[in-house]
Every structure is written in C-alpha cells, then in structure tokens.
C-alpha cells in the first residue's frame, strides 16, 4: 500500500474519530438508543415515528393529554421535529388551562416546548395545518402560554370565567 495513502487515511480517520469522541462527550447520551438517535440527527437521516405521532394525536383528540405527550416524546426522542414539539406544547396548554386559574408549571413546560419548536422551524415561523386546532401558529400559542404564566390586573376580572379554551 502507498505510504502517502496510509498517512492520508490515518489523518482523515483520526480527525473523524476525534470529532466523534468530542460529540459523544458534548451530547452525553445515556443509552445506546440515544446515541444512535443522535447519530442519525447528525447524519441527517433522523425521522420521527409517524405511527406513534398519529397514536398521540388520537389520544390528544380524546383529551388524554399526558398520555399524548408521552407518545409524542417517544415519537421524537431527539426533540428535533418542530411539528411534534408544537403538539407537545399544545398538550401542555390544554392540560394546564383552567377557567379560574392556569397551572403555571404545565404552562412553563409548554413554553419550553413551543420555544424549541420555533427554534427548529425554518425562519422561526411554524404553522400547523390541523383543522381541529384553534391555534395553528407557534407564535400565537407562545403568546397564549406566556399570557397564562404572567400575573396581571386582568386576572381579577370575573368575566374571565367565561373565556374559552382554544
């Protein structure tokens, strides 16, 4: 074998392997599955589990929000799909919404998910074409969640009880 070829191959291999080691320490996967999912994200071959996504959507339709979120998390373990993150945020919103007061903890988790969805979507604009949803844009859902976590004088308005969940 040509010495030059061996040296070149050695350099390329060493750089690639070193990058892999750095990536492993940066992402710190806790299981082999996490590592392979992360690798598929880097390789650009990552795709969510569509069957699980649909199952979660059905649960969401039946108002089983916690179960739906669990399924969506399994469908998108790397949290790289903007649409799935939008639905997770929506599930937090629906579950946390209250006629008298909202569940702040759930709303905050919803905010985290919707911000992730916005970051993942191209140009930060995400719209979901789902006729059964009253909020279809990520920006609108984020505003709704933010409003829910903030305290204002409007919270004392008795007419608040007649507002409707979106």
């Amino acid at each position: 074998m040509q010495p030059k070829l061996i040296k070149s191959a050695g350099i390329v291999w060493t750089i690639l392997y070193a990058a892999f080691v750095v990536w492993i320490y940066a992402t710190a996967p806790r299981t082999f599955t996490e590592a392979t999912t992360g690798a598929s994200v880097v390789a650009g071959t990552y795709a969510i589990d569509e069957a699980r996504f649909r199952a979660a959507r059905e649960l969401f339709g039946r108002e089983q929000y916690a179960a739906a979120r669990d399924e969506w998390v399994r469908a998108d373990p790397a949290m790289r799909d903007a649409r799935t993150q939008f639905y997770i945020a929506y599930a937090f919103y629906r579950e946390g919404w209250g006629r008298v007061y909202n569940d702040d903890a759930l709303f905050r988790q919803g905010l985290e998910s919707i911000e992730r969805a916005i970051r993942l979507s191209p140009e930060g604009a995400l719209t979901v074409a789902d006729p059964e949803l009253k909020i279809r844009s990520a920006a609108e859902l984020k505003a709704e969640l933010q409003q829910g976590t903030e305290s204002s004088i409007g919270d004392l308005n008795p007419l608040k009880v007649v507002r409707e969940r979106k």
Binding site: M1, I6, K7, T14, Y17, V21, P29
Partner: protein, 264 residues
C-alpha cells in the same frame, strides 16, 4: 516481504495508534450509573490534564517518544501532521486514563491526585529508559485501578462491601464508621476501566520511540535509525556491555589494519 513490513509499521503508526488512543479517550470518562444503568460521560478534570502534561514530559525525557524523530523538517508534511495528531490523541488518552482511576469527589480524589502528581514529578528527575518507564507506568495505573475500582468501590458499595465492614469495625469509636459520601457505579464501570487501561498500556508498548519514515530516509538511514532506537530501549547495563563489545571489535579491526600495514 520488507515492503509488507514497512506497510504494517505505517498502518500501526498512522491508523492503529490513533485509534487505540482515541478509544481510550472515549472510554476513560465512561461510567455506568448503579441504579439506572445509564451511561455517564465525565470529561477529564483539570488535574487530569496537568497530570497528562507531566506524563508527556516524562515520555520525552524517558525516551519513549523521541520528539526530534517524530517532528522534523526532513519529514513530509503529511507525516508531521499525522504524528502531531497521534501525539495529541496520546495526550488526551493519558488524561482520560487518569480520569478513569481518579475518584469522582471527596478527600480521596485529592489524595489520589496528589499521589499521581508526586510520583510523576519525582520521575521527571529519575533516570529512565523506555522499557523501565513502561513498566513503571503499568505499575502506577495497575495500583491506581486496584485502589479505586476494588478498594474504594468496596468501601462505598451500597450493599456494604467487605472493606466497608472492616473499616467500620476499625474506626468504631473514632468516627461513625464511615468515610463520607462517594458516588457508586455499576460493576461494569470497573470492567470498562480495566480494558481502557489495558488498551492504553498496549498503545504505549506500540509507540515507536523514533518512528522511521518511509518518505525521506534512505534504507541505510532507516536501518541506523532502527538500531539507535533499539539501543535506546536497552537498560544501562546492556548498553555498557554493547559499547564494550563494539569497542573490542573495533579495536581488533584497527590492530589488524596496523598489522597489515606493517607487513606491507
């Protein structure tokens, strides 16, 4: 046959060695959580980097790595780059080898770090030759492995290892029979550390002190370089014997020449 040998040497130096050292760098920080079985990747602490610097200096001083032979203006750029990457991989492998045998926290961590620093600092001023240095390092890492993964692991075992019971009995009356808190890992961590250290020592054995480079050196130069490298691997006593033998042979040749001149 010779070409095949040269190819194999190049493969070892430019492909196998970086692979071994990077694998050590990968596995050296890996722990397995006792309760969940999850992987925990622990980046090398600062003290491990300092220890690694000292170890690299020791490699250079002890002749395990002959730096002028590894980096030279006579080498092709590809060779120098490849050597630099290999030594960089060795540096991080050394840091991770220390990381693998350093306790994660507490007083023991600092005691171990001090013990390594003291040993490496003392060794900087000792006369070493590569083979003895390798034996010394194998002993250092072997001892550290036994201390951390067998003695300390037993001392902090959640179910109370034999050493914990013994220490508890000995220290009864002085303390509450405990040594503070230390994270406990799954037994797999010890196995990972064992193979990591074994791989690291194997890598060190494979490191040529003065790599002969197929690009610039001619065959006689390479042969001479090889002889010099082999000479450096000898112990002091063996070197003295070899020098005496060479002198005796040379003296005999000179006497023969003088005798032949006088006869003419």
């Amino acid at each position: 046959m010779k070409n095949q040998r040269d190819s194999n040497r190049l493969l070892v130096r430019h492909l196998l060695l970086p692979t071994i050292f990077l694998t050590v760098a990968l596995m050296g920080g890996l722990r397995v959580a006792a309760e969940t079985g999850a992987f925990l990747f622990i980046a090398p602490p600062l003290v491990a980097l300092v220890l690694s610097v000292l170890l690299m200096l020791l490699f250079a001083r002890g002749g395990l790595i002959n730096l002028p032979a590894w980096f030279s203006g006579d080498h092709a750029p590809l060779t120098n780059v490849s050597h630099a990457l290999t030594l960089l991989a060795l540096f991080f492998a050394s840091a991770q080898a220390f990381n693998s045998v350093l306790p994660e926290s507490g007083l023991f961590r600092w005691m171990f770090a001090f013990f390594y620093l003291w040993t490496l600092w003392n060794n900087q001023f000792a006369a070493f030759e590569p083979r003895r240095l390798l034996r010394s390092l194998a002993a250092l890492f072997g001892t550290a492995f036994v201390l951390k993964h067998m003695l300390l692991a037993s001392l902090y075992a959640p179910d109370g290892g034999w050493l914990k019971r013994l220490a508890g009995a000995l220290l009864e009356g002085f303390t509450q029979g405990t040594f503070g808190v230390q994270e406990s890992y799954a037994p797999a961590t010890g196995y990972i550390s064992f193979f990591t250290l074994a791989l690291y020592v194997l890598g060190l054995v494979l490191v040529p002190p003065a790599p002969d480079n197929g690009d610039a050196a001619t065959a006689p130069e390479r042969a001479t370089g090889g002889l010099v490298a082999q000479f450096r691997q000898l112990s002091g006593e063996e070197r003295a014997l070899l020098r005496a033998e060479i002198l005796r042979t040379e003296r005999g040749l000179i006497e023969d020449e003088i005798h032949a001149t006088q006869t003419d």
